[in-house]
């Protein structure tokens, strides 16, 4: 089994309320924020690792996990971290964020897929900086591959996957045959949400993603990391979406504290007039 995982690095999502917009609205200023892997992509990597192992023997990889990012040189540290977590190889496609949009990333991935021939492409359902939620679906369409978006559970079968997707109103189960694209949602890293054919169904993972032990971080420095240029992968690197300006959200001020339930009801009825 060969899995390609798309991994974007984003400005620290937990401090996204610290992004600044200059008065001329020309940019979103993330200065001072740390860069982190997109959380959903960390979940996708964890999913890929779970699918290429017996959960009781996480050091033995049954297949290959390749991580790929489209980003500037400093995103290589994100790739090294993914290698330390267990990925086998990494590819960086050199590009700055403002040279990319979702369709372009999907087109670049399409070319990489043609070169690497993975059984599955796994990625987060959305990058939490742009909050677009596009690349996985676009890639599946460009490849004419089946997809399962918003995956919360995955069970590996002989020739494909059974995926539980979190959709409006409940969980929808699809079965897809390889090769396929899967985008993951939050609950994919729950203890019983991903099973390879090797992992016994009674096995429970730890909640969340695994961490890399120190020796693995050292070893990761020796794992292969290739660099490619965007123009090598995509003929037309023009953007289809153009940001004219950025704005801060409308300010919302803190209101008052009330003493008890009676005062709350009084305020809601007589002041806010919402009851």
């Amino acid at each position: 089994m060969k899995i390609l995982v798309a991994l974007k690095r984003v400005a620290d999502p937990d401090n996204a309320n610290k992004v600044k917009i200059p008065a001329d609205g020309s940019t979103i200023d993330t200065a001072g924020l740390e860069f982190k892997p997109n959380p959903f992509d960390e979940y996708a990597l964890e999913t890929a690792l779970r699918l290429t192992e017996d959960g009781t023997k996480p050091k033995v990889r049954d297949g290959e996990v390749i991580v790929v990012t489209f980003g500037p040189a400093d995103t290589e540290s994100t790739l090294r971290a993914a290698l330390a977590t267990g990925a086998d190889r990494a590819i960086r496609v050199d590009a700055n964020d403002d040279q990319l949009d979702g369709l372009l990333v999907a087109k670049g991935l399409k070319t990489l897929v043609a070169e690497e021939k993975p059984d599955i492409v796994l990625m987060g359902k959305q990058a939490v900086d742009g909050d677009t939620n596009q690349v996985g679906q676009a890639l599946a369409e460009l490849l004419d591959w089946p997809m399962a978006t918003f995956a919360a559970t995955i069970e590996e079968q002989e020739d494909g996957l059974v995926v539980g997707r979190e959709v409006d109103g409940g969980v929808l189960e699809l079965s897809i045959k390889y090769p396929a694209v899967v985008t993951v949602d939050l609950r994919i890293v729950s203890p019983s949400s991903v099973y390879s054919t090797k992992t016994d169904r009674s096995f429970k993972y730890n909640e969340g993603v695994r961490f890399s032990p120190l020796p693995a971080i050292m070893q990761a420095r020796r794992k292969p990391l290739d660099t490619k240029s965007l123009a090598d992968l995509v003929d037309d690197t023009g953007l289809k979406i153009n940001y004219l300006r950025f704005e801060a959200p409308p300010a919302r001020l803190a209101g008052v504290k009330v003493a008890d339930a009676a005062e709350l009801v009084d305020k809601l009825k007589n002041e806010a007039k919402v009851l």
């Binding site: 937990d14 596009q134 676009a138 004419d144 300006r245 803190a254 009330v258």
Partner: protein, 323 residues
């Protein structure tokens, strides 16, 4: 001139309200571009839904009614939607799980730009642009799409539902485009629907959301309050992850986005990912025992208290109000 195509969402024999928000966008876009809008319905057994759609002021209602479209799969829907989209300037659906799944495939298939989850359409000199939230709602970008076809999804809570009118649009059957190889490798298995007798989270005028603090007493504590207010119930990610409630209730950056008249955050700390889904509510009430909880920074009326005591008291107070 530019015409707009609304990809309608349909379930249990009826149009979903998400469609009505997309229609409101379509009206605004059609006005800005000097065009008209059509609705496209896909599925099987669409007669009743088509009649309903015909009341929404569209130039025409296009119906792709076929057994092969009985269960939604992006792989079987996308070819038909993309084929029809070629005659339009803008294709729109609501940013529901359905719209978010399908429309990026339409954009890719037609080599079009895609703007997701937009909250506003702007227009200047016959050109349109879109405002959309980024960074969990901590910034808004105004963008334009440079391809001939523009594909967008709209945030339901930012576009009021269009009301049916008196006129009736013409209903036209459209041809089904053949699906590609992808369709042969995906199979719809089953849908585990969450039973919900309360108003839809995204449509309710009052929403009560519970957090991690509620533990196993999530429904025991919140049901009486939701009953007395006729409210929808929502939740934080932590409450969903812990299994205190259905995942479908999650409000936030990656769950549902709501903007009711009145929102209760009960035992919720106020992480930015949660705020992203409820910050546009008109009035926000929080009940949290920690006076420093970040949720209070955006709360209109805060009650610093143990929720297990405060919520039942609130229910009693509201009941006396009713009688």
């Amino acid at each position: 001139m530019g015409n707009i195509l609304v990809v309608a969402e349909f379930g249990e024999g009826k149009l979903k309200r998400t469609t009505h928000s997309a229609v409101t966008f379509a009206k605004q876009a059609a006005e800005a571009l000097g065009g008209t809008y059509s609705l496209l319905l896909l599925g099987s057994g669409l007669d009743a839904a088509a009649q309903e759609a015909a009341k929404l002021g569209a130039d025409k209602v296009l119906v792709a009614d076929d057994d092969s479209l009985g269960q939604y799969l992006a792989e079987t829907y996308a070819p038909t939607v993309a084929a029809i989209a070629k005659d339009y300037a803008v294709v729109v659906a609501a940013a529901s799980a359905y719209g978010k799944d399908l429309l990026p495939r339409i954009a890719a298939r037609t080599d079009a730009g895609y703007a997701a989850d937009i909250t506003e359409i702007l227009s200047e000199g016959g050109k349109i642009s879109f405002k959309r939230p980024m960074y969990a709602g901590n910034a808004f970008g105004v963008c334009e799409i440079t391809s001939a076809l523009q594909v967008v999804t709209v945030r339901q809570s930012a576009f009021a539902a269009a009301e049916p009118g008196d006129s009736t649009s013409a209903v036209e059957a459209v041809a089904i485009a053949g699906a590609g190889e992808a369709a042969g490798r995906v199979k719809w298995q089953k849908f585990d629907q969450v039973k919900n007798t309360r108003p839809e989270l995204t449509e309710a005028s009052v929403v009560i959301s519970g957090g991690r603090a509620l533990k196993e007493k999530f429904y025991e504590v919140l049901d009486p309050l939701a009953d007395v207010l006729g409210a929808a119930i929502g939740a934080s990610r932590a409450a969903c992850d812990a299994g205190y409630c259905a995942p479908d209730l999650q409000v936030g950056q990656t769950g549902k986005v709501v903007a009711p008249d009145l929102y209760f955050a009960i035992g919720i700390s106020g992480a930015i990912q949660h705020l992203a889904g409820m910050k546009s509510s008109k009035v926000i009430v929080s009940i949290n025992k920690d006076p420093e909880a970040p949720i209070y920074q955006i709360t209109d009326y805060g009650l610093v208290a143990d929720l297990f005591k405060a919520v039942p008291e609130l229910v009693e107070q509201l009941k006396t109000l009713d009688s």
